[in-house]
Symmetry: C2
Subunit: 253 residues, 2 copies
């Protein structure tokens, strides 16, 4: 079997965040597979086949990519952000786990990318300067009580919390439930940032506090960062304040 | 004031993980500041001044960079991995917070990079496919009881756990304490990976379980990943198994 499958992270937003290793893998691929808006971000190369698909058919897309790789093609599956963080890498290995035994012999590589959490943090200052956790609010694949258990644990540990997939049209009330829970266990003054579409022309950042945040402004392109008890704003004369979680913990108490 | 300061993530290991935005910022800088081994990874450019320093003088390095930026220089501070994750971004904003008032008017930009956690995850398969947290085991700047509180919370939430800075010569027993604590709250069969120097010629990966892991093999170049109750090995005919935390939670129970 001479085919291969590479799972490539495009980063969030524009091309200047794509690692050279990722660009080289896309250039070398015979077939590029992915959600159509991600494919549209990849420069077209003569002779390369493209297989765009809808966002909701991730497992079918993974199986299609694996079938082509098993036929000897050099397949690249594109993912937004980092394929390892709530994205296509898990989908591919889930498909391998329950799929054709020969797929386990394939040459499969994951190329990391910058996640939306990191791009948002960079825009904001240094909100992830201390221990943090990342939680997806989607309850498509896990029960909502698992989400609540993790939000509570994250508050107990006083982690900075990054919320991925905060809102969906099918379940608009979930983000409100999450904020109600967090308001019950964290101070109202804790800084919160809504970072939407970082790197794109319609990028929008809203800085607020846990007590004053309006969770309804989050959509599926929004990454929400909720501070620890140490996170604070650093004011500046022009522009929004920076957000800082210092490395030192408990110094002021 | 026309100076600027850009905090640049080099990613872990080789140049093929450095984002084009980071390379462009380094090319444009009049002065490059950083820990000497990171500076050595940056291509020299004629006319550019370099300011290498020791690893232990982070705040002094930050202040030096800010002073030069305030003098009108275009300063780049380099950081391994992602400057936002346990790295130089927090140091710079801490220095601004307590430093010269004019520093708050400076043009300060953070350019994200791929963190060691993500490079390790990519090599291993998809261990971060579900909710995870990142904890630094260093107790230089926070009390050890904060580390223990966070380890316990991470176990309570059944997060995948990424441990940064797992070992130091000054405190070799801390990593053993952390493993003892985690063994008290998580199953012995949970997969654990030690990922050392990912991307470098001396890269080394050890796959084991929480019950069988020998924490003594971790050094300061090691990133440790500890699975959730759902994390598992996916065997393959040649090579080490992949590590997978599936997106679906609780399906088998």
């Amino acid at each position: 079997m001479t085919g291969s499958l590479v799972i490539v992270g495009l980063g969030p937003g524009p091309g200047h965040w794509i690692a050279p290793e990722a660009s080289a893998a896309l250039e070398a691929a015979s077939d590029v597979v992915g959600y159509q808006p991600y494919l549209d971000r990849v420069t077209e190369r003569a002779g390369q086949r493209r297989h765009g698909s809808d966002n909701r058919v991730e497992i079918r897309r993974a199986r299609h990519a694996l079938v082509m790789a098993a036929e000897g093609r050099r397949v690249a599956v594109v993912s937004g952000g980092d394929p390892g963080v709530f994205a296509m890498a898990a989908v591919i290995f889930e498909a391998i786990e329950v799929g054709e035994p020969c797929w386990r012999a394939l040459d499969v590589t994951v190329i990391p990318g910058i996640s939306a959490m990191q791009a948002a943090a960079a825009r904001l200052g240094a909100p992830l300067g201390q221990d943090f956790c990342a939680i997806s609010l989607s309850d498509n694949l896990k029960a909502w009580d698992v989400v609540e258990r993790r939000l509570r644990a994250a508050a107990d540990g006083d982690f900075v919390i990054a919320l991925f997939n905060p809102a969906s049209k099918a379940r608009p009330e979930k983000i409100h439930q999450a904020f109600r829970l967090l308001r019950g266990c964290k101070a109202a003054t804790i800084p919160v940032a809504f970072a939407r579409a970082i790197g794109w022309p319609d990028e929008r950042i809203v800085l607020t506090t846990l007590g004053e945040a309006d969770p309804a402004i989050a959509d599926m392109s929004t990454l929400i960062l909720i501070g620890s008890s140490e996170t604070r704003f650093v004011d500046r004369p022009r522009g929004s304040p920076w957000l800082l979680t210092p490395r030192t913990y408990g110094a002021g108490r």
